[in-house]
Amino acid sequence: MISKSLVAASSRPLLLTILSWGENYGYELIQRVRDLSGGVLEWSDGMLYPVLYKLEKDGFAQSRWDMKEGGRPRKYYSITPKGLEELEKEKAHWVNVNAVLHQVWSMKPSLS
């Protein structure tokens, strides 16, 4: 079980990436996350929404309601330019962190 904090930390870049591929709505987003992570990240469905709302509040995503005729209204989210910027930043951060960890783990222990 991956720790909650890691799951939480990765939720934003993950969602931003998925959104960068195109507009989507909540249910679909969750399915995507599930499929993509292959069970590694255990998200409960409800977890999604607070993250989405925060993204929206921070200006990285925007939403619109789509009134389907005869069906239920649906809220679609899409990424904003600011969000795209943020995504690049996050990507860089993760890569960096990953590199450091990778380096550290490949080092032999020494007494110096």
Binding site: S44, D45, G46, Y49, P50, Y53, W65, K75
Partner: protein, 899 residues
């Protein structure tokens, strides 16, 4: 609606309940859930399963709500307001820790607070015990709510007098004429000082006996450990004993059927018919043994006197038990016509009996605290004292609370930091207020524990002052325990509520920047509280001074007779017979002792209740009879001399004058009342059987308490009668006189049990309740002053510490120790003076009113107020002075350096 639909609607409802979600969120999430359910159903699951799995998968709604809230809020610590709890168990630990730290860091102030609260609560507890006892009188009888005492109010020349006992035949008349009265019972105290019972060869003193109707056990609740209540008092010749008497006479065996001899009745035997279980002391008519009233009728009243003929004799205490359905008002409404019929024969001509006499029904439970009629069974208590003591106790508690408030708010600055931090971390005002309030309640509970212990220690003292018995068992009754807890909760709440509200309102930003709110309003409250404390203390001190002075005055006041040096010796039994027969011989023997000035045999003495009778001066008609007090219980030729009463006209009774057999000596008030120009020689008639000339007039002397003006008194000559031997001695050495008397009397009557009391003590008994009151005042003043000083001490210490810097600077500038002292103390002195000015008018009014209940009183001297003021001032100065002095002589470098 399908089950699925219902389930989803439920789920959505739950969502909606959570204030974190907005409507759009809810729509979105519901839609999400439905989609998931549809998918599962499409996969082949049934609806129930699908819903369950989908909602499980969605997750727990509450944490989601919290997270959503965090997104929405701007608060630093994003705890939703609806979730903020005042009572958080984890935090509770922290509160306790804080409290503990507070206490240990401020041992000085905390202990001041604790001691003050403990004293205050203890005072309240003691008063509660006393009040509870007083209020519970006579309530232990099962039928207590239905029992009333019938009393009779007569209009007479002195206005109107209400008599507690009424005529013997009235009870029966009431029962027969008035529906609603189920039963009646009459009590008649055995007169004289006491009987002597004899069993075998041993003699026992039998005090406080009563005659009673056999219905006693039907009306009142007196369980018997031996004997049958239905028959115990039915026939004459029996006696029912208290458990103590039975034990003394018979040890542990069943005494029913056994006999004792009554020495005063010529050794007649009576049979024990019952033994009473232990009786509570909370009764207005305590007694030790019961004789059937039938005995009185048949044997004691005598062949020539049928009590039922004595309609107007206020002799028997008459109690009625009303039917369960009957109302007191209905019954009372029927009384006037009853009186007209029943007393018709003795009504004055052309008037209705009910014009002159009114019968009242007193509820049994009212008698102890609200009844002060003529010829009560014994002196009752007074409701006023309950109020007074209760008020004093409350005030003392308030003083202790005032201390708490002062000390806590003064030191609020010490806790600023803590308050600021707590607020920043998200504590709301209610939460903080709760914490502070909790602290004060915990402290007051601690005080309660200590107060409990102190109360146990003080129980003997309380018993001594009040004349009751308090045992530690009382402290464990639920009612008492709850009232104790209630008192300390009250104290904790009152002490804590203001500081709690005040301190929790501090704005953290200001506080953390170092701004200390020490507004003018705060200081005003503090000053106000100090003034309040000292006002109460001054009131109590002046009250004590006044009461003590008045009582002292009463004791030493010239009463018109010399009460010092008179020994009362009750006579009974063998000695009684002797003394009436051989009075002269005995007197002569006793007078051989050079220390004995005079000896008299009589029945009435100043301090004892004198009967009221009607006498008619010669030359006037029967209707012009005058009600006067009369010493009819026995007075001999030496009475005036022995009592030390001053003759102002005429002479004393003389053995030489044969006409003196029916002579009178009256007092000045009687002369006035009877309207006699030249009293000497004038003949007075009493009851048609005693008529004779007035031979002497005596100065008015106070034969009753100084609450009353001197009433007209007539003294007939009735030698060889009465139950007391009065001995006047000039002795410095009383004990030698006493042993002489004991010896001599035993020579005459070997079976005599020597008993004595001092006339001055008998008189002092009249002031028992005032005595009690003065003692209570005295102790309470001490308490009040002590608490107020504690508070002053703590406050001044704190204030002085606050001003340490200022004082240091002044010293450096050259101020003398003297001027520093004045500077520091002047504030407090001003407060005390203010308190004094406030209280003085109130004290004056209250004390003046109290003094007016005395016919003879002192003046409220200015000196009393001055003494009180000086006392309080001195105490306050000493309290403040110690700390002031310390700071005045301290090295200014120290205080200035600490910057």
């Amino acid at each position: 609606m399908s089950d699925l639909e219902k389930a989803i609607k439920e789920w959505t409802k739950e969502l909606r309940k959570n204030p974190a979600f907005e409507e759009s969120h809810i729509l979105e999430m519901e839609s999400h859930l439905r989609l998931q359910v549809d998918e599962y159903v499409a996969d082949g699951m049934n609806e129930d399963e699908a819903f369950r799995k989908a909602s499980e998968q969605f997750g727990d709604l509450e944490p989601i709500g919290d997270d959503v809230y965090k997104v929405r809020t701007t608060k630093m610590i994003a705890r939703p307001s609806w979730k903020e709890s005042v009572w958080v168990p984890l935090l509770f630990q922290n509160y306790l820790k804080t409290l503990g730290r507070n206490i240990s860091r401020n041992k000085f102030y905390t202990s001041l607070n604790l001691v003050g609260l403990t004293i205050g609560i203890t005072c309240c507890l003691l008063i509660i015990l006393f009040v509870r006892d007083e209020l519970s009188f006579d309530r232990h009888h099962e039928n207590a709510d239905r029992i009333y005492r019938a009393t009779l109010e007569y209009k007479d020349l002195m206005g109107s007098t209400t008599w507690a006992p009424i005529g013997p035949p009235v009870a029966e008349g009431l029962k027969n004429s008035i529906p609603g009265i189920e039963k009646t019972v009459r009590l008649f105290p055995v007169s004289g000082s006491y009987y002597v019972f004899k069993r075998g060869d041993e003699l026992f003193k039998a005090e406080n006996g009563i005659y009673a109707d056999s219905s006693l056990f039907d009306v009142f609740t007196y369980p018997l450990t031996y004997g049958d209540p239905k028959t115990a008092l039915a026939r004459p010749g029996g006696v029912v004993l208290s458990s103590e008497m039975a034990k003394a006479l018979f040890g542990n065996e069943d005494p029913v059927g056994k006999t004792v001899q009554v020495v005063d009745w010529g050794n007649t035997s009576v049979t024990v018919r019952g033994v009473l279980a232990e009786m509570p002391s909370t009764t207005h008519f305590p007694f030790n043994f019961i004789l059937p009233l039938a005995t009185y009728y048949k044997y004691v009243a005598g062949p020539n006197f049928n009590p039922d003929d004595a309609l107007t004799w206020s002799g028997f205490y008459t109690y009625v038990l009303l039917d369960e359905k009957a109302s007191k008002d209905d019954v009372e409404a029927k009384l006037p016509s009853f009186i007209d019929t029943f007393y018709g024969s003795v009504a004055p001509p052309e008037r209705m009996a009910s014009d002159i006499a009114t019968m009242h029904l007193q509820p049994l439970t009212d008698i102890h605290l609200h009844s002060n009629l003529e010829k009560e069974y014994r002196a009752n208590g007074n409701m006023i004292y309950i109020y007074v003591f209760g008020v004093i106790a409350v005030f003392i508690l308030l003083i202790a609370c005032a201390n708490f408030i002062n000390l806590t708010t003064a030191r609020a600055s010490d806790r600023m930091r803590e308050i600021g931090i707590r607020k920043t971390l998200g504590a709301g005002r209610p939460q903080l207020a709760f914490q502070f309030l909790g602290e004060s309640i915990v402290l007051s509970m601690l005080s309660l524990l200590m107060a409990y212990g102190v109360t146990i220690l003080l129980l003997p003292l309380l018993s001594q002052i009040t004349g009751k018995t308090f045992t530690t068992e009382i402290l464990y009754t639920p009612m008492i325990l709850w009232s104790f807890i209630g008192v300390s909760l009250f104290a904790g709440f009152i002490s804590g509520i203001y500081p709690a509200l005040h301190m929790s309102g501090f704005s953290p930003s200001k506080v953390l920047k170092g701004f200390i709110p020490n507004s003018g309003g705060n200081a005003f409250l503090r000053k106000g509280l100090v003034v309040f404390q000292f006002s109460i203390s001054i009131f109590l001190i002046i009250g004590t001074i006044v009461v003590y002075t008045q009582l002292d005055f009463i004791r030493s006041e010239q009463m018109g007779f010399d009460k010092e040096g008179v020994i009362n010796i009750p006579v009974f039994g063998e000695f009684e017979d002797l003394i009436h027969g051989q009075a002269l011989t005995i007197k002569q023997e006793l007078l051989r002792n050079p220390d004995i000035i005079s000896v008299s045999i009589g029945g009435d003495y100043p301090g004892k209740r004198f009967s009221v009778e009607d006498v008619v001066p010669d030359g006037r008609s029967e209707d012009e009879s005058v009600s006067v007090r009369i010493a009819d219980d026995g007075t001999d030729h030496d009475y005036i001399k022995t009592m030390g009463i001053n003759l102002v006209a005429g002479r004393e009774f003389s053995r030489q004058a044969p006409t003196d057999t029916n002579a009178w000596i009256i007092n000045e008030a009687a002369v006035k009342e009877l309207g006699l120009e030249s009293p000497i020689g004038h003949v007075l008639h009493w009851r048609g059987s005693y008529s004779g000339p007035i031979v002497g007039v005596v100065e008015d002397f106070n034969f009753r308490s100084l609450h009353n003006e001197v009433e007209p008194l007539v003294i007939p000559l009735n030698p060889n009668s009465g139950n007391f031997l009065f001995v006047r001695t000039k002795a410095a050495n009383i004990s030698s006189v006493l042993s002489f008397l004991d010896e001599k009397i035993k020579e005459f009557a070997p079976s005599n049990i020597f008993e004595y009391s001092f006339l001055s003590d008998e008189f002092d008994k009249l002031y028992r309740s005032e005595d009690q009151m003065s003692q209570v005042f005295w102790y309470f003043s001490l308490m009040a002053i002590l608490i107020a000083c504690l508070g002053l001490f703590g406050l001044s210490t704190f204030m002085i510490n606050q001003r340490a810097k200022e004082i240091g600077i002044r010293k450096v500038m050259g101020a003398s120790v003297h001027s520093i002292l004045i500077l520091v103390s002047s504030n407090f002195v001003r407060l005390v003076v203010g308190a004094f000015i406030l209280t003085t008018p109130i004290v004056y009014l209250v004390m003046d009113r109290w003094l007016n209940s005395f016919a003879y009183k002192i003046d409220l001297g200015v000196w009393m107020f001055i003494v009180a003021a000086l006392m309080v001032l001195a105490i306050a100065l000493t309290t403040v002075g110690f700390q002031a002095f310390k700071s005045a002589i301290s090295n200014p470098v120290k205080s200035l350096r600490s910057e």
